[in-house]
């Protein structure tokens, strides 16, 4: 279990970082998504891994429970990263459609620059 989760976080992060270092926008966005999956699993594991345990304390009997806070944190993180991915896709689309080029770096020649504003 621990090995599975740890290697999932590691592989997702590594793949994400590899993709982020690509030159086109699309792989970079895919890489960001993988990286956020990785961090979500990592956050989930910060409350220690417990299988089949409810995320609440039971005051009537002593049973194993799992930490509910990381689950709340992960929910927040998922929502935020989902929203952010949507935003970056839209902005990347706008950049692609107006420059007809999916490269993430910017040409740095003053002459081929559209007038600012």
């Amino acid at each position: 279990m621990e090995l599975l989760v740890a290697s999932a976080v590691g592989v997702l992060t590594a793949a994400g970082i590899y993709l982020i270092l690509r030159r086109q926008t699309f792989p970079v966005i895919l890489g960001l998504s993988l990286l956020t999956y990785g961090v979500n699993i990592f956050l989930f594991a910060t409350g220690r891994l417990a299988v089949n345990a409810p995320p609440i304390l039971n005051k009537y009997e002593e049973i194993a429970y799992t930490d509910p806070l990381p689950q709340a944190l992960v929910l927040t993180a998922i929502v935020i990263s989902f929203g952010m991915t949507a935003v970056v896709v839209m902005i990347a689309l706008a950049a692609y459609l107006s420059s007809r080029d999916d490269r993430i770096d910017m040409p740095d020649h003053p002459e081929d620059e559209g007038e600012n504003a």
Binding site: I20, T25, V28, I29, L32, L35, T36, V39, F42, L43, A45, T46, G47, R48, D67, L69, P70, L73, T76, A77, I80, S81, G83, M84, T85, V87, V88, I91, A92, A94, A95, S98, S99, I104, D105, M106, P110, E113, G114, E115, N116, A117
Partner: protein, 520 residues
């Protein structure tokens, strides 16, 4: 519980949806509501600053959950100072944007602006590390919208880079928070401070990793070299008045460093002692140097000021990295100054680029060249840290605070050389923009049609109307007045900064205020 404390967050959070949902089709109404909200924010933050000035720490428990379990907002001197600075800056930028008509060039400017304020104010007020992340995201997602306001290929491309870089930063932030949580089991800053201090030294490897990752995240926000790459392109390609507002965003990073590394990983804490200062100080000095060289090498005015912002962050973080009360006090004074100065210069540079484009080359003299030239001159003096404006006092305080440090020679050399190079760079830009253009006009060899852009008659008429508008100049002079006031009242300002630093280096006050109810 004092509900007034949450007003700087709630007010923009209510006004922004109102603007989107009710008045978005009426430009005048959106302007009225947005400006009114900014004015009220200034008033609210003035009252809060007055409340915090006596050294008390106020705590607001959201949902009335007691401290380590619920999220708290905390108002101490530092938070009050930052909230006030944000409100004042926002009001001035808002005035400028309305006056120059920038808000007409794209959709939903004012709503995004208010959301951005909500995020910034929240980040300054929160006392919970995960909530800090959430407010970072709020201010970032609003800033993505503002950054690409009014569109344009280059702006979109810069926007993609900006968003990607910040998403990476956010991911790193989550990794850092997860690491801290897995070691300490809490994310409330005051509770973190208590738990971290109690940890046995041999169990802290993971904690140190978390502390360094957190420092990296804040360094990204504060544009510390080598994590600064997002800043020049995004500030230079954003609408320049927006870049003026973004002057406070790098300070959010500096604030977070100051808060976390005095409260949680304080200089007295054995396990992380020297960790932050030892890394931050050289990085800050390099930042200062590279920023100054960048000023010298910029061929567009937006980039020029963006590198100016990097230089001032370098100076600011040099003072913070000393982690002494004197250093922090100097840093706070310089923070006030550099935010106002950077924003001021961005606004002036927008006046220039509205009239003759963004490149630093000699062109036809622009309308109101004299007035704008003198504003640029004042801004350059402030940015470079020359007398008589507050930048000089700020740098003097930083140098004075560094005297005790073992790296005093390094700091003195880099700060002074950096100032010299910035002066050269700003003087070069100013003389090209304002003096050479007059020299060209005197030769009388060239006529219109120089800029290479064919502009229709209507555009020209609109330009002329825009050039006559007084409000942008009011905004610029307001910032200049702020700088002059900061110089004239340097005594009270440094006294407040010293009191703030004193409060920061006695974290027990903060911890007791937040956890007071729970620990009894």
């Amino acid at each position: 519980m004092n509900h007034f404390l949450i007003a700087p967050v709630v007010l923009p959070a209510l006004v922004a949806p109102f603007i989107i949902m009710v008045v978005r089709h009426h430009l005048d109404l959106t302007r009225i509501f947005s400006l009114a909200c900014s004015v009220v924010l200034v008033a609210v933050s003035l009252v809060q600053a007055a409340q915090a000035a006596d050294g008390s720490v106020q705590v607001y428990e959201l949902g009335a959950w007691p401290a380590p379990f619920g999220i708290v907002l905390v108002l101490d001197r530092l938070s009050a100072l930052m909230v006030l600075l944000t409100s004042v800056l926002a009001l001035v930028v808002n005035l400028y944007v309305v006056g120059s008509g920038w808000d007409k060039r794209g959709a939903n400017f004012h709503a995004l602006f208010q959301f951005q304020l909500m995020g910034i104010q929240g980040a300054f007020l929160t006392g919970d590390a995960f909530n800090l992340f959430v407010f970072f995201e709020v201010l970032l997602i609003a800033s993505y919208g503002l950054m690409i306001h009014a569109g344009g290929t280059r702006r979109f491309q810069a926007g993609v880079q900006y968003v990607v870089y910040n998403l990476l930063g956010s991911t790193l932030f989550l990794f850092a928070l997860g690491t801290l949580y897995s070691v300490t089991g809490t994310l409330n800053m005051a509770d973190l401070a208590v738990r971290v201090a109690e940890l046995p030294a041999e169990d802290t490897a993971l904690l140190r990793v978390g502390a360094v990752m957190l420092l990296l995240v804040f360094a990204i926000k504060a544009a510390v070299i080598p994590l600064h790459f997002w800043l020049p392109a995004s500030y230079a390609n954003a609408p320049l008045p927006i870049a003026a507002l973004f002057a406070i965003m790098t300070k959010v990073g500096a604030y977070a460093i100051l808060r976390m590394y005095t409260l949680v990983f304080g200089p007295d804490l054995a396990i992380t002692a020297g960790l932050s200062g030892a890394w931050l100080l050289p990085a800050a000095l390099v930042t200062l140097g590279i920023g100054a060289i960048g000023i010298l090498g910029s061929y567009r005015i937006g980039r020029l000021v963006a590198f100016g912002a990097i230089t001032s962050m370098g100076t600011l973080l040099t003072a913070i990295a000393l982690f002494t009360p004197e250093g922090t006090s100097a840093a706070l004074y310089y923070l006030l100054h550099s935010t106002l100065a950077t924003a001021f210069l961005f606004l002036v540079v927008d006046l220039v680029s509205e009239r003759q484009g963004i490149e630093i080359v000699a062109k036809k003299p622009m309308p109101q060249s004299g007035l704008i030239a003198s504003l640029f001159f004042a801004g350059a003096i402030a940015m470079a840290g020359m007398p008589p404006l507050s930048g000089f006092l700020g740098k003097l305080l930083v140098l004075d605070a560094a005297r005790e440090s073992s790296h005093a020679w390094w700091i003195w050399t880099v700060v002074l050389l950096g100032s010299l190079v910035s002066i050269l760079g700003l003087a070069r830009a100013g003389s090209l923009l304002f003096w050479k253009s007059h020299a060209m006009a005197a030769e009388g060899s060239d006529d219109a049609s120089q800029g290479g852009e064919q502009r229709s008659q209507e555009d020209l008429a609109e330009d002329a109307a825009r050039n006559r508008a007084a409000l942008p100049f009011v905004a610029c002079f307001a910032l200049l007045a702020g700088l002059v006031l900061l110089t004239a009242f340097a005594g009270p300002a440094t006294k407040y900064a010293a009191a703030t630093a004193e409060q920061l280096y006695d974290p027990q006050i903060y911890i007791d205020a937040v956890l007071g109810g729970a620990s009894k």
